[in-house]
Symmetry: C2
Subunit: 565 residues, 2 copies
């Protein structure tokens, strides 16, 4: 059984009730300039510091941390009467213009976001934070803001790594952040059908904690799990580490309650599957708050597994390992988790994080992790069929140790990034997906683009890659990059990201497999979905959000960008 | 191995090359007033005739067959210049105003369609039939028709049972049927990724025949398989009998080529899964030709299975059997086919069709069919785990015989309907889906509504039901109805269908699980997807088909209907 779900909520729930001004608005648990909370921070080991300074030219003695008091935010711009009107809608205690509240919702958690705090630039913050508690209140906010030309940014866990929660005003004079945290109930638990309705503001751990009281589990564990919310998972098409067994989050969603400026609707309400026209759930999922605000999500849940089985394997090369994962998925042998690291990531995984940079006696090759959940019989039979196929496909078992170690550390990488950024290193992740046959070409193209761009900026770059989501027809490719910062790290990373994004579009990948679009991937959407696809999204937006107040400047490219001719 | 795919294409391909006028336009293989071809017709046995006459008051000696020469069609309405313009686009040999060609595309295959031929009423036919061969030609047709106010109905296999191919002119003065049969190629076969691009006009057997040359299979076997096309499967969200193993057709689609009046686009082109905004494939699937014409579909294919294993079970009641199917799907034991008939359908299934109405020594209870495909090892392990769970859930094995018998006869039921209609009986099917917990309530409500309405019309009704598609959270319910026709069988069935449709919407079902919307389910779409859902579909249609020429009067309710207030 996975202890993760049961252990984590207490801290998060506690953090959610802390407050810093007269309102009762709670602060998000993540520190404004870090992924984790301050007490999660972990200093870098001497061996990592040596690697950074010797190979990447990073001066690790220089302090890159941010002093909150020295940050300059934009001034709040809402008129007093607008604030009073909004207070009438949600109650005064659910509106805040407090600096700390605005700062906590001014940026997501991409490395660009975190570097921006460190840049000394003035940071755009939302002009106010609202915390509605009912669909009627959300609707009233959207109607008011449509009439008074105020942009609205929905806010869940604040974990976006693509600029999704950043307070872009667009053509409007002000922008508010609408925090969904009061939608935190679990309703309509139907253990027969395996369905539960969850408030959009519930964090991953909080949702699992409430489901566990019914003996049920959602089983969605993306790296953002400790902080991200049910609503955010749905509208960004999140994919979790158990996707091989339980699907992506969009596979788990049965119905959504969506509040738009034109009213409320419930796509998916009818049935598990339907031929009654286009699937409107699939329009809301991926809409990133640009069409409406999801307040409740009815999801597929399943009994807490009786057992978990673990086994790790090593493959002689990434190509051989990828072929083995493909065989497993195409045969349907049924692992809950299956993932494969490339040679570089495997070498790092086989090393304890304290010993990175040291010489290691770990096995050579590419590490593959498998986990099997379910009843005793089901997990055993799935494990047996999978391991036989992996062994027949060139794998060697290395026991359960590396799989258990992976699971224990699986939410820790973003916290390590905090320390790397504080030490003056660049650290970021990016991801794509493609057909199995195209995966080698795409992996090489991405790696080359990153190495070239970062080498041009004067640093060696460590590029690691893994497959963590498999489909019958293809797989994801997830890259982690560590390099040295130059004098202008924001520009340095933007150049690398642009180079790699162009390489992805030119080599048959999607611009994002599970991080969503936000501001950062918007310039590539016309290539991704073609001009007619952009027109469709605009048409839907005109229908649901005619004033255009919902999350402007994200997801849907503006006019000029959609016709590059 | 399933022989069905390899046996059938020859006849269909042959029928597709027959022609009846100076053009080279081929006639669809199905006879205009029947599901099957004339040589498939099978006379009713004496025992069935006795059942019809004694229990349902049907005078089986009366002849209800249709004389083609006596049918009155609407006159062609295209101007000579319009015909010349259209001939310039696709070539004169690919345009026909011939009576037989128009008649063959005047109606789909619902019982209402088939009864209408028998009613003596004037039948609306398309004003011309066009058979384009390239996306450029399709685009030119759509641009021309947008400019000249001609409605366009895409035509694949003509198997719609909801009015989907019927030539509704809407607000326009003329309507043409655009037959996709020339999009009949297989391209881009990628056996590594398990992907193949299929022409939208390929019939099910023809597609399987071409894939088999590569050792591959699609595995989509709806009852319409012998005639329906790849494009039709996609835009109507078809579900086949192997859906437990291979998914619905919408699960199989990776990418579509869609020609709209505003241009061509390719939703899904990027990758097996993406977080780059809403999934635009899901807008095209279910759009039933109202947004554009699908010309190519890239689908997930898999190796032809090494082995097929069969086993049938009997459950003491439908409720116990449904719980067993639910356990199988929620545990994920992996059958390729799993279905359960209720008591009445089981009794009929256990009887040979020649002996319906006779006393039978067959097992009592509800018949469950399972089939397992794949490699030897995979099929065996999935079979073992599934059978153990079914036995533990109250099932009794009755060996492989009934499962093989089901497979042999699985495309035959619509042909039997032809004979029943010709004999003066009513025979129709309808289907819905819902959560597992709600299935008993919905099944009872549908059965009651049918019995009440048909009894009111003066006939006893035989109502059979089965579950043929299972999901983790719910299942389909498929009903077959046999009753006696009264003097006005069209009005009689319309009243029954309205009663049952209202019962479905009032009892938590979807108006259609896999038959699509067309004209027949359109009145229920506002209940199904809410007024805001209808507005979204209208907004998409305005974007892609601003003149509104594509399949008017189908899928999307017109103004007044969408706001029942």
């Amino acid at each position: 059984m996975d202890g993760g779900a049961a252990e984590r909520p207490s801290r998060t729930i506690e953090a959610m009730t802390s407050t810093s001004d007269n309102s009762s608005v709670a602060l998000p648990p993540m520190r404004f300039d870090l992924w984790g909370t301050a007490d999660e921070a972990k200093p870098l080991s001497d061996s990592i510091k040596k690697l950074l300074s010797q190979a990447m030219g990073v001066d690790t003695d220089k302090d890159h941390t941010v002093d909150a008091a020295s940050v300059t935010l934009t001034e709040p711009r809402l008129s007093e009467s607008a604030v009073q009107d909004l207070e009438r809608i949600v109650g005064a205690k659910n509106v805040s213009q407090d600096r700390e509240q605005r700062m906590a919702r001014a940026r997501g958690k991409s490395s660009l976001d975190l570097l921006e705090w460190r840049s000394g630039d003035v940071v755009s913050a939302p002009d106010a934070v609202l915390v509605p508690g009912t669909e009627d209140e959300v609707l009233a906010i959207l109607e008011y803001c449509s009439e008074h030309e105020i942009a609205v940014v929905p806010f869940g866990g604040g974990t976006s790594v693509v600029g999704g929660v950043n307070p872009v005003s667009g053509e409007f004079d002000a922008v508010i952040s609408v925090d969904l945290r009061r939608f935190d109930a679990i309703e309509d638990v139907d253990p027969v059908s395996g369905l539960a309705t969850l408030g959009a503001g519930l964090s991953g751990p909080h949702a699992e904690f409430l489901l566990a009281e019914h003996g049920l589990q959602l089983g969605h564990f993306p790296q953002s799990f400790p902080y991200a919310t049910i609503g955010g998972f749905a509208v960004t098409r999140s994919a979790g580490q158990n996707s091989a067994g339980y699907g992506r989050f969009d596979d788990m969603v049965r119905e959504l309650t969506v509040v738009t400026p034109k009213g409320v609707f419930h796509p998916g309400k009818q049935s598990p599957a339907s031929a009654a026209g286009p699937d409107l759930k699939e329009i809301v999922m991926g809409s990133e708050g640009a069409f409406g605000i999801a307040t409740r999500v009815r999801v597929h849940v399943h009994p807490i597994p009786q057992v978990k089985r673990y086994e790790a394997f090593v493959f002689p090369s990434f190509g051989v390992g990828a072929d083995a994962l493909r065989a497993v998925e195409q045969q349907g042998t049924g692992p809950t988790v299956i993932r494969l690291s490339d040679e570089i990531e495997s070498a790092i995984n086989f090393t304890s994080s304290d010993a990175i940079g040291e010489k290691s006696q770990a096995p050579q090759g590419c590490l593959c992790i498998t986990v099997f959940e379910g009843t005793y019989e089901h997990a055993e039979s799935r494990h047996k069929e999978t391991r036989e196929l992996l062994l027949a496909s060139g794998g060697t078992s290395v026991g359960e140790g590396p799989a258990r170690k992976w699971e224990e550390g699986r939410f820790g990488a973003p916290v390590l990034r905090d320390s790397l950024l504080d030490a003056g290193a660049l650290c970021e992740t990016l991801e794509t997906a493609t057909d199995w046959a195209n995966a080698p070409r795409l992996k090489k193209a991405v790696g080359d683009a990153l190495a070239t761009s970062l080498n041009d900026s004067g640093t060696m770059a460590l590029v690691m890659c893994h497959i963590s989501h498999v489909y019958a027809t293809g797989c994801s490719l997830y890259f982690t990059i560590v390099a040295g910062q130059d004098d202008q790290p924001l520009a340095q990373w933007r150049a690398a990201k642009q180079a790699v994004s162009k390489a992805i579009e030119a080599n048959g990948g999607t611009i994002t497999h599970h991080h969503a679009v936000g501001t950062d991937h918007m310039p590539y959407m016309t290539d991704e979905i073609e001009p007619l696809g952009v027109e469709i999204l605009r048409g839907i937006k005109r229908t649901l959000d005619p004033a255009g107040i919902l999350n402007p400047g994200k997801l849907i490219p503006a006019g000029a960008e959609s016709n590059p001719s």
